[in-house]
């Protein structure tokens, strides 16, 4: 009896997991099937592999290295605007990459603030394109993530330990050795690996700031083989390389146990007795000031530059914005449709261990590159329909897949908590199947559902990935339209479009997240 009840209850979860497996591994299979057997990697492919690993390593090392002093300063200081700074650290996650790149160009680009300042001293401007541009953008995105991860670990050191250390007369050096070093040794490898993985699979940054024989990532090489040469065999070979690289990094990251960065409670500050000196205070102030400026300046430049040109935006940009909103809403809906049944299944099966298998399937899409999924879908769709006509639905589907691990991470613990608190009552009242979903789970999960939908929507809104593969000039999304404006050096309009995209992404997240909170009964 239990067996049949299980099958019926988890049918949707099994279907979702199967679809996800198809999208990640199935598309990879389609790509491999098209790859030319026996074809080896050429010199430029090896250069792409080397560049991918090098930039990912540098991005991760710099992000984590800079995050340690910043997290320490945030952990031990209280000041006006600290809460705002912590909130700001969460923003890059939903910030469209292309917008950030435009902001970074305004600060570090050829005619940016930095170049102007260097000009005053008669120095040549630094080029932002190439390795250091790619690394700079990755640090911009991942430094905040690293700070949040490390800050969390810092605040998890019990306050009593610091008090004990102080009572033993430990100074800053001793506290670092006794308390902080062991904590860092536990959290830093995981943070490093997750940023390494993100930087390795990032596409839009390499597309806009990289390129050329010396700054091409594997992901970018897939795009070029597909888009410029339409060499499916070559694209397929590179896709396999990318999957192996990302899969290895992801497996390593899970083996090391990546810390969860979505946790709340970062507004706490630990009372410290070893760091009261004026010099240390100054040091923390400088670190936080630099990090804050690094994050805020590019965004401010977008806002300032974009407002003036807003009136000049053509109808095509607004149409693209409309398409993007549609894609984002579809991606958010698809993400929930896939995640919810999986989350219900995982939380229901934990005791039997089968849940872990489904959970692992959910995380496969971290290792799967969106461009590989896109390439695979292209190959599969090509014989039966025109893939370009399906560009927008495919973009929504791929984005739903890439957001799924984050949604899963939020929803699984939430479902467990609801079942632990109210599962027995629902059982006693005979609430099963749909009535349980409608009357218990959905109302109690409003907040995590709103958050997940907002995340998926905002990520899809700003995504400049798989859409570039299919790009139909008449069916661009807003990020793609923005990329084209940039490529055409229409700087003012690009800034205005970026401001529009930024506003839409933030609104997308805010509205969903808010919707989950309003009138939610504790």
């Amino acid at each position: 009896m239990a067996g049949r009840a299980f099958q019926v209850r988890h049918l949707a979860g099994v279907a979702a997991a199967a679809l996800l497996l198809f999208l990640t591994l199935g598309t990879l299979g389609a790509v491999i099937w098209r790859a030319d057997a026996g074809r080896a990697l050429g010199p430029s492919d090896w250069a792409a592999v080397r560049f991918t690993l090098l930039q990912a390593f540098l991005s991760a090392a710099l992000s984590v290295g800079l995050a340690i002093p910043a997290a320490r300063a945030l952990a031990r200081r209280r000041f006006v605007g600290r809460g705002l700074l912590v909130t700001l650290l969460g923003a890059p996650f939903i910030l469209p990459v292309i917008v950030a790149v435009l902001g970074l160009l305004a600060v570090f680009g050829r005619s940016g603030i930095l170049a102007t300042a260097l000009g005053w001293f008669g120095l040549e401007p630094v080029s932002i394109y190439g390795l250091h541009g790619v690394v700079l953008a990755h640090v911009f995105f991942n430094l905040p993530l690293a700070v949040r991860l490390i800050l969390q670990a810092w605040l998890e050191i019990p306050a009593e330990r610091f008090r004990l250390a102080a009572s033993l007369g430990a100074g800053q050096r001793e506290v670092a050795r006794l308390l902080e070093w062991p904590m860092l040794r536990a959290v830093v490898p995981g943070a490093f690996l997750v940023i390494f993985l993100i930087s390795m699979t990032s596409f839009a940054v390499a597309l806009t700031l990289g390129g050329g024989p010396r700054a091409t990532t594997v992901e970018l090489a897939i795009y070029q083989a597909f888009r410029f040469d339409f060499d499916l065999g070559h694209a397929a070979l590179l896709a396999v390389v990318q999957f192996v690289l990302a899969g290895a990094a992801a497996a390593l990251a899970f083996w090391v146990a990546v810390p969860a960065g979505l946790g709340a409670g970062l507004d706490r500050r630990v009372e410290r007795w070893d760091s009261r000196g004026a010099l240390l205070r100054l040091q923390d102030g400088v670190v936080l000031g630099l990090v804050g400026a690094f994050l805020l300046l590019p965004l401010t430049m977008i806002a300032l530059g974009g407002i003036d040109a807003f009136a000049e935006l053509g109808a095509s940009v607004y149409l693209a914005a409309l398409r993007s909103v549609g894609v984002a809403l579809a991606a958010a809906a698809l993400c929930l449709i896939l995640t919810l049944p999986m989350a219900l299944m995982i939380s229901g099966m934990q005791a039997r261990g089968g849940g872990r298998v489904v959970e692992a399937i959910g995380y496969v899409s971290i290792a799967a590159s969106p461009l590989v999924i896109g390439t695979g879908l292209f190959i599969l769709v090509f014989p039966v329909a025109d893939p370009v006509a399906l560009a927008l639905p495919i973009t929504a589907l791929v984005n739903a897949t890439t957001s799924l691990p984050f949604a899963l991470r939020v929803l699984v613990p939430a479902v467990r908590e609801v079942e632990a608190s109210y599962g027995r009552l629902a059982d006693a009242l005979g609430m099963g199947g749909l009535s349980r979903l409608r009357l218990l789970l959905l109302p109690r999960l409003r907040r995590p559902i709103g958050f997940s939908a907002g995340l998926a929507g905002a990520l899809a809104m700003g995504d400049l990935g798989v859409i570039t593969l299919f790009a139909d000039p008449n069916k661009a999304t807003l990020p793609l339209a923005l990329y084209r404006l940039m490529a055409a050096y229409r700087v003012d309009q690009a800034a205005a479009a970026a401001l529009l995209l930024l506003a839409l992404s933030l609104a997308m997240f805010w509205i969903f997240d808010r919707g989950g909170r309003v009138d939610a009964d504790a």
Binding site: M1, M431, R438, D521
Partner: protein
């Protein structure tokens, strides 16, 4: 009539056995030291836990394959008896239909039940806007409405103060009088047992003993109960 037929289960160091019956119309308290297995016994009868051996029967019918919601029992837990996102009326209405599909007659019965426990005018309030005592009354209104033949309570109203709790137990007794239901109540308070239950099951040493008259048991406690009562 509830029959516990050679019930047994064990997990690690913990074990519990029970083999007795409760006549229809009786009110039974279950007391014993914490960790002895009171709540496990409750879960076995309510259907949340499957025993390793033995059967639970109601009026001679084997309940082994009957899901908790389909057993002829209404249940109140220590806490979380109301869904915080549903109104008082909806929480009561769930007792009539777990999908909350209620017709006009059903809604009238819900209003009647709420009126019986003194909550007229509170239909649209959510639990967060009700006091602890009022929340207890909503739970009792649901029991009144489901009118199942056995009411099971696991440390009910333990979040309430003594006076409010006694008031709830009195209201519970009235509800039982009106529905003619039997009662099985897990408690750690001997006072509760005296107040409402004519007979008491003592759970200790891995055994749920057959019920004896509450006064007799509490006035002349066996050694293991005397140790617990202090």
């Amino acid at each position: 009539m509830l029959t516990l037929e050679q019930i047994s289960l064990s997990r690690g160091d913990f074990s519990l056995s029970a083999d007795f019956l409760l006549e229809a119309g009786t009110r039974t308290a279950v007391i014993g030291p914490s960790g002895a297995g009171k709540s496990t016994l409750f879960d076995v009868i309510a259907g949340f836990t499957q025993p390793q051996g033995g059967r639970v029967l109601w009026m001679g019918r084997d309940l082994s394959d009957v899901a908790p919601g389909k057993r002829p029992f209404s249940v109140l837990f220590q806490d979380n008896n109301l869904f915080p996102h549903l109104t008082a009326a909806q929480n009561v209405g769930l007792g009539l239909n777990p999908a909350l599909k209620l017709n006009a007659a059903d809604r009238a019965r819900v209003a009647q039940a709420l009126e019986r426990v003194g909550l007229t005018g509170f239909e649209g309030r959510k639990p967060g806007a009700l006091s602890g005592g009022q929340q207890g009354r909503v739970g009792l209104a649901r029991i009144l409405l489901t009118a199942r033949p056995l009411v099971m309570l696991d440390e009910p109203f333990s979040a309430l103060g003594p006076a409010l709790k006694a008031e709830m137990l009195r209201l519970l007794a009235e509800v039982l009088d009106e529905t003619g239901a039997s009662l099985l109540m897990v408690t750690h308070e001997p006072q509760d047992a005296r107040l409402i239950a004519g007979q008491t099951v003592l759970v200790s040493g891995g055994v749920a003993h057959a019920p004896v008259a509450t006064e007799t048991l509490l006035d002349n406690p066996p050694p293991e109960l005397r140790e617990y009562l202090g």
